[in-house]
Amino acid sequence: MEQMKVLLKNVGKIRPESAKDYINAGGFEALRKALSMSSDEIIQTLKDSGLRGRGGAGFPTYRKLQFACSTENDTKYVVCNADEGEPGTNKDRILLSGDPCAIFEGMAIVGKAIGAHMGYIYMRGEYVYLREMLYKALENCEKEGCLGKNIMGSGFDFVIKLRMGAGAYVCGEETAMFESIEGKRGEPRYRPPYPGVHGLFGKPTVLNNVETLANIAPIFRNGTEWYRTIGTEGSPGTKLFTVIGNVEKRGVYEFPMGINLKELIYDVCGGIPDGKHLMAVQAGGASGPFINKDQIDIPLEIDYVAASGGRLGCGTILVIDDSNCIVDMVCNNLYFFKEESCGKCTPCREGTTRLYQLARKISDGKGTMKDIDAIKSLGETMNNASFCGLGRSATVPVESAIRNFYPDFERHIDKDFCPVCDREGRMQG
């Protein structure tokens, strides 16, 4: 199957820090168009395109702009979420390191739409090695008159600043990111007030994922009708998928929304290596559900995945073969959440650790059926009552694993055979 490179078009083909290369490849044409458009026209274009957020929730992008646009304030901000904290996810890194100017262009268009003159890129701490290159790219864009003061003679100013994260997963949550940019402890804020009204430094703010922003320039360059021909009715455009785990060809792939998960694993990525078989897939990052091998014949499209109880999220596909143990995977997953809970609210701060302890107990062969009930009930409470999405969705993997791999949990509780745990000398009790 052939990839469809819209976002990755320039990656590897131009020098990332070179604004000239980007312009020669058609860059900043979209911004030039947008500069001659009114706020309403820009937002209408985004509405017509059907573009939805690529960070996780799939929220219609134009509506975020609408909120910020309709709030009166002299100072507004555009924030680019480049925190990319989902384990195994690399798509934003590829975009940032291969075609950063496209992201700047997207931010400037958003800035023009809402009347913001300042943008922040909040970048994952581990991507610090990209910083110098990005500074150069920003500088070059300003030299070419495509960023900074009086862009392309339009009178519109837009400056982009870079801020580094320090390794907190929760800072990918938009309000926690604002706190972090403001120099505070990275903890989420409650809503309302929403970021469109009271965001970064208390000003109306639009925050978008790197990939979402990368979609904006192509939309303005090629038109919404063209964009609508790609992907599905509800989720137009292409999507970057980071396929990781037990497949022949791991990597970041760009396909139209709606590509079949099974085809992605077997046809694109070459299936499971070493003669092993598929056991489970976790789609959508660390908080995505674990599904079993009979559940993978689905189109990867925001609404379909959501309707089936999962989420497309950032488009990360973790493929797990049958030499692994799902209970072990769940423990690993819960360990991640217990380490990454910020500690602000009770259900998540305490619950993530307790879920881990319960799962570990089962994994170690010391669990009982009551522990499964406890996981379910605690999971429900965390899901219902946690402060932010982290605590609310941290329960999805373990709950889905219990639902979709129930016999494996029973086996551990009965201290029956488990190939992985036996190999590692666990389940002796």
Partner: protein, 574 residues
């Protein structure tokens, strides 16, 4: 107005009200832990979650605005299950030492747990946070094992008092509210105001309990002398379960006698003495080119604050000791001589609304009598517990009277208990001294009330004296910055560390602004009833100057009633 339905009851609330506000209006009780009526909404404990029709999951009622047509269920099985689960999580980290906890019976966490009917055994192993008790401060004890991370103390310390002594460290399950860099409280710029104690919903931050010290002095057959701060009489009954603003002057005296005190004195008297000295000092500074503005020095938390954060202003502080510390040496000299008791045989206990007084009484400067002038400071909370321990039926106690030779305090001394009171009391005396006329009206309302910074001016026969009053150290910082930059010029500034003044002090029963408002009402009403309302007209004050002290600012005064200050800037680190 917004109309919504809560548990089947229709209720109308103002725009901007939360579901919690609406529920309270509808007399529906929703349990809370991190919510505090005086503070910003935090929505972190999640115990107040409710079900809202059409919204996914559960919503924190404290942070979710009420909206038109909303249908809320506050006690559905789903809600109760979630609340119990959350409480179970909290309890699985909490030391189950309730019987031995200072807050036993007064603890918000305990009350919420009781209301949730937590009767099943926990599904989780008890895992208490690894934290040692910090009892290095003379005023405040921190036991972070009992902390539920509600964030109230941080808000009061950082945003109200702006001292910023505590904040969250570490992440997730390992989060802990601590002073920076692993410091103990005594090594931080903490001013001992106790406002964190006031808002802590558990036993994590408590008043350092000195009641045992008092019993042990009693065992040593000391002559037990109590002196009672102005605001205590409007706070004590509340700490024992009566309505806020209940005045219990007479009952309080009787209770102290029953507990075992031989003499009970009124610190209002010493407050009058403070006015005599401080008023004279002010006039002296104005007339002889002394450092201005002069700052009041009654509040030990404010003093430590100035010594730590604004040592450049130490010359602005009045050299007068606080009323408590003026009283201390007089008890061990004047009183001791008068009744012929060896001062070493006296145990002088001050009953205060204040945790910082515990620090003040241990200061090196405070032994003008040759002994530690005040041996023990008890807060209102501690006295209330001693009264309970003694089995005294406080509510039905007969009224007692203060002992001589300090029999009476004036109304001016009494209003020391509220913000602006020292200023008003001083102006009553200074005005009359300079002009020869009584201030008219005697109630000087511009300095009353809870506005953060209050300004006024008084014409003293041609000399216009500009005064200002600040309460809460955040406001103190503001006024000091204005003065430091030259933007504001005053002659006399009153500063109290606690919001509301001593009636909002850290040693009282837990505060809310509504309660402090009641206490204020009580103190001004009580003042009007007193026979003498100006310090210089207090006959006992006139007598002590005649018999013992001579004149204000005289040699004896200097020896006993005035002090000096210490630069503590190094507490801020470099």
């Amino acid at each position: 107005m917004i109309n919504l339905t809560i548990d089947g009851t229709e209720v109308s609330v103002e725009e901007g009200a939360s579901i919690l506000d609406a529920a309270r209006k509808a007399n529906v009780k929703i349990p809370t832990l991190c919510y505090h009526p005086d503070q910003t909404v935090k929505a972190v404990c999640r115990i107040c979650v409710v079900e809202v029709e059409g919204m996914p999951g559960l919503q924190a009622s404290c942070s979710t605005p009420a909206s038109e047509g909303m249908v809320v269920k506050t006690a559905s099985p789903k809600v109760i299950r979630a609340r119990k689960d959350i409480m179970e999580l909290i309890m699985a980290r909490h030391p189950m030492e309730c019987l031995g906890c200072q807050q036993n019976g007064r603890c918000e966490l305990q009350n919420v747990a009781a209301s949730l009917n937590m009767s099943k055994p926990s599904r989780y192993p008890l895992d208490i946070r690894k934290a040692t008790i910090d009892n290095t401060s003379p005023s405040i004890v921190r036991d972070m094992q009992k902390c539920i991370l509600c964030g109230r103390c941080e808000e009061t310390c950082s945003d109200v008092q702006e001292i910023m002594v505590m904040a969250k460290e570490n992440r997730g399950y390992y989060s802990m509210m601590v002073p920076p860099y692993g410091k103990k409280l005594v090594d931080t710029p903490c001013v001992n105001c106790g406002q964190c104690v006031q808002v802590c919903p558990t036993g994590a931050i408590t008043v350092k309990d000195d009641t045992e010290k008092v019993y042990s002095f009693m065992d040593q057959d000391k002559v037990m002398v109590a002196s009672i701060a102005p605001s205590v009489r409007v706070n004590l009954a509340e700490a024992l379960g009566e309505e806020p603003g209940t005045v219990s002057t007479g009952r309080m005296i009787t209770a102290l006698r029953k507990i075992g005190f031989d003499r009970v004195f009124d610190t209002d008297f010493a407050a009058d003495l403070t006015i005599m000295e401080e008023g004279s000092e002010l006039l002296d500074r104005i007339q002889n080119g002394g450092t201005l503005p002069m700052f009041t020095s009654c509040c030990p938390a404010w003093i430590k604050y100035a010594e730590t954060f604004y040592p450049e202003h130490l010359d602005n502080l009045s050299s007068c000791k606080s009323p408590m510390e003026m009283f201390g040496p007089l008890i061990k000299t004047y009183f001791a001589e008068k009744v012929k008791i060896e001062p070493s045989k006296i145990c002088s206990v001050a009953i205060m609304p204040c945790t910082a007084k515990k620090f003040e009484c241990q200061r090196d400067e405070m032994n003008a009598s040759g002994y530690q002038d005040i041996d023990v400071v008890l807060t209102v909370q501690e006295l209330a517990r001693m009264i309970q321990t003694a089995g005294i039926d406080f509510k039905n106690l007969e009224e007692g009277e203060f002992d001589n030779p300090f029999g009476l305090g004036s109304g001016a001394g009494l209003i020391f208990g509220a913000t602006g009171g020292v200023m008003e009391a001083a102006l009553r005396t200074v005005y009359e001294k300079v002009t020869g006329k009584e201030m008219d009206p005697l109630d000087f309302t511009p300095v009353r009330g809870f506005e953060g910074i209050k300004e006024a001016s008084v014409d003293l026969d041609g000399t216009v004296v500009k005064v200002a009053v600040a309460h809460g150290l955040g406001n103190a910082r503001k006024i000091l910055q204005e003065i430091g930059s030259g933007r504001a010029q005053y002659h006399f500034v009153e500063i109290m560390a606690c919001p509301g003044g001593c009636i909002g002090g850290g040693g009282n029963a837990p505060r809310t602004w509504a309660k402090v408002e009641e206490r204020k009402r009580a103190i001004y009403e009580e003042e009007k009833r007193l026979p003498v309302r100006k310090s210089h007209e207090n006959p006992w004050i006139q007598q002590i100057y005649k018999e013992y002290l001579g004149a204000p600012l005289g040699e004896k005064s200097h020896q006993l009633l005035h002090t000096h200050y210490v630069n503590r800037h190094d507490l801020l680190g470099s």
